[in-house]
């Protein structure tokens, strides 16, 4: 038999739980459930550990003609000609008098390259490439930077394993430590 004291304690606990739950999720009842299918249709985020990458694969060899057709006009045949962002070269220039920031010299994660091509490229026709084509173009840009071989298979399992040359080149915001003069 439960003592009345214990009952009170349990009731108090339950009440606290209710209050906490209410604070966490005010029952406003707005918003409709998003089905897993509906979310899947719009969720294109790819994380550095590869979560979000769809199944697929490609190689630089397969990617070269795709790159020339879809990317070459803006980024040049070897990713170094422009006129838009340079994609290749620039290794070792970040401390020089003329830093060149490219995928190879600057970008910390290979997954970002896949993600960006998939969400925003080609500039005039975004969302027009099949997943395998994105893998192949990704592979070709990495190949232009000497990061993967021409026949290496880039896929949802191998891409997150690619270590980018500048992966350790980023530091958290430490502006507070700057020795700017104070009045």
């Amino acid at each position: 038999m439960v003592s009345s004291r214990a009952t009170v304690a349990i009731a108090a606990l339950l009440c606290l739980t209710c209050a906490a739950a209410a604070a966490q999720s005010p029952a406003l009842g707005l918003g409709h459930p998003a089905s897993p299918e509906a979310v899947k249709a719009i969720d294109i985020d790819v994380l550095p550990d590869g979560r979000g990458l769809p199944p697929g694969h490609g190689t630089a060899a397969a990617g070269k003609p795709l790159y020339i057709a879809h990317c070459g006009a803006c980024h040049g045949a070897t990713g170094t000609e422009g006129p838009n962002d340079l994609l290749a070269g620039g290794r070792g220039t970040l401390t020089s008098a003329r830093p060149i920031k490219t995928v190879g010299s600057f970008w910390p994660y290979a997954t970002t390259l896949w993600d960006y091509i998939n969400r925003a490229m080609p500039y005039e026709q975004p969302h027009s490439l099949a997943a395998d084509d994105v893998y192949s173009i990704t592979a070709f840009v990495l190949f232009l930077n000497g990061i993967v071989g021409e026949r290496d298979v880039v896929s949802e399992t191998t891409l997150p394993l690619v270590k980018m040359p500048n992966q350790n080149g980023f530091v958290p915001d430490n502006r507070a430590n700057e020795n700017l003069p104070r009045r």
Binding site: Q24, S25, P26, L28, L30, G31, H32, P33, A34, P36, A38, V39, I42, D43, I44, D45, V46, L47, P48, D49, P83, N84, D85, L94, T95, P99, K101, V103, F106, W107, P108, Y109, T111, T112, D115, Y116, R119, A120, Y123, P126, G169, F170, V171, P172, D173, N174, R175, E178, N179, L180, P181, R182, R183
Partner: protein
């Protein structure tokens, strides 16, 4: 833009007469422009009738200045800071930065999806968001690339092109925390990824603590629905944080356990230092101020009294004080701050200056409530080198020549 022009009256004699009489050319010009009032100038007939949606006087011509014409869908437009007043930027003149053009979205069909590490993935219509508790606040948004043209010295000819990537509005919407509580964040959710519905699906990651603190999901700006170029029908407002994080055309918020490391937080919007490392996630905008009047591109008509006016702001709270120099930094005088001084919003400052007609440099310097003092460009360059790119908040001097011509004084 340009100095308001009052139609010059035909002088009675030649300008040479003024010059021979020993008057300076600038004073002569001032005399030519002296305003006169006349009953003949007052309207004698009926004016325009009422109208459904107002427009400005045809005599006002301030415009945003457009960036790179080769890529008009991935560039900026600069707010004409010299020709705005108070702390609110007119919505029509608020700066722009698009990465893939302005999408045409319908508020009747647009939705916001909240998913990822949540108990209940939810979709909200705009109408449903408007039924949630609303909030209105003044916040500035500054592109972290604002003033990037000035890292290596004077480059922009005027304050519009040097500082026009900041603007301030009253934003109305729902706290993101309110929306996230509807979905129930799971304990492992430490970051969010916010994505726009523009062609490039611009996306940025934000720490969960900031998302729950003061981030707004805005549907209105300055009393009316957002303008398309400002994210209609929905955008994120991340107070005090670099512009790119204020995701426009917001349609999806995903709760995750690590940042996504999108292109817009790795390849771009990271700050290269002399040792070759780059700062990442430099969210807050440092305290900054600039004199908007007088400023580059205008000509002072002659010695005498001028109001120095400008804007100050900080991503770390409120502006505490602004000091003005009119002698190239030798002496500084406290400016008057226009009340109310709101945190994370533009603050208008002013100071009455009697110009003696000699060549000089004028500048403003802000101190924020944390004690941070706006640095000189030289100090910033010492700390960050020449290639940091973003977050240039240096003191901006304007040079005034004896002829009254105002130019970039860096």
């Amino acid at each position: 833009m340009t100095t308001p022009t009052i139609p010059a009256r035909k002088p009675g004699g030649s300008r040479r007469w003024f010059l021979r009489a020993g008057t300076s050319f600038a004073a002569a010009l001032a005399a030519l422009r002296a305003p006169t009032s006349s009953a003949a100038d007052l309207p004698g007939s009926l004016g325009a009738p009422v109208s459904g949606y107002g427009s400005r006087s045809r005599f006002e011509r301030a415009l945003r200045a457009l960036g790179n014409a080769r890529t008009p869908r991935s560039t900026v437009s600069y707010a004409p800071l010299r020709d705005t007043f108070g702390i609110v930027t007119p919505s029509s003149l608020h700066f722009e930065r698009h990465h893939a053009g302005v999408p045409e979205l319908d508020s009747a069909t647009h939705t916001l999806t909240v998913h990822g590490l949540v108990d209940r993935p939810l979709v909200f219509s705009i109408d449903e968001l408007k039924r949630l508790p609303s909030v209105s606040r003044f916040f500035f948004i500054e592109c972290s690339g604002n003033t990037s043209s000035e890292w290596t010295g004077a480059n922009a000819p005027d304050v519009q092109r040097s500082h026009g990537l900041t603007s301030c509005s009253e934003w109305t919407g729902v706290w993101l925390s309110t929306i996230l509580r509807q979905s129930g964040a799971q304990p492992g959710a430490t970051w969010i990824v916010a994505e726009g519905a523009d062609a490039a699906r611009v996306a940025r990651s934000l720490p969960m603590d900031k998302a729950m603190k003061d981030v707004l999901v805005a549907y209105a700006q300055n009393g009316e629905p957002l303008r398309p170029e400002q994210g209609y029908p929905l955008r994120l407002i991340v107070p005090g944080v670099e512009g790119i994080a204020n995701v426009k055309w917001l349609h999806r918020v995903k709760l995750v356990d690590r940042p996504a490391m999108t292109r817009w937080e790795t390849s771009k919007y990271t700050d290269l230092l002399p040792d070759g490392t780059s700062r990442i996630f430099t969210f807050e905008m440092d305290a900054k101020s600039v004199i908007t009047r007088p400023s580059g591109g205008e000509t002072l008509p002659g010695a005498g009294v001028y109001e120095i006016s400008g804007l100050a702001w900080t991503g770390r709270g409120a502006v505490a004080r602004v000091d003005i120099t009119t002698d190239g930094g030798r002496t500084w005088n406290p400016a008057e701050l226009q009340a109310p001084v709101l945190p994370l919003a533009h603050t208008r400052f002013r100071w009455s200056w009697r110009w003696d007609g000699g060549e000089t440099l004028i500048a403003s310097r802000v101190t924020d409530e944390t004690g941070y003092v706006q640095p000189t460009l030289i100090d910033l360059l010492k700390a960050r080198g020449r290639f940091s790119g973003y977050h240039n908040n240096a003191i901006q001097p304007w040079k005034v020549t004896a002829a009254g011509v105002v130019t970039n004084g860096l």
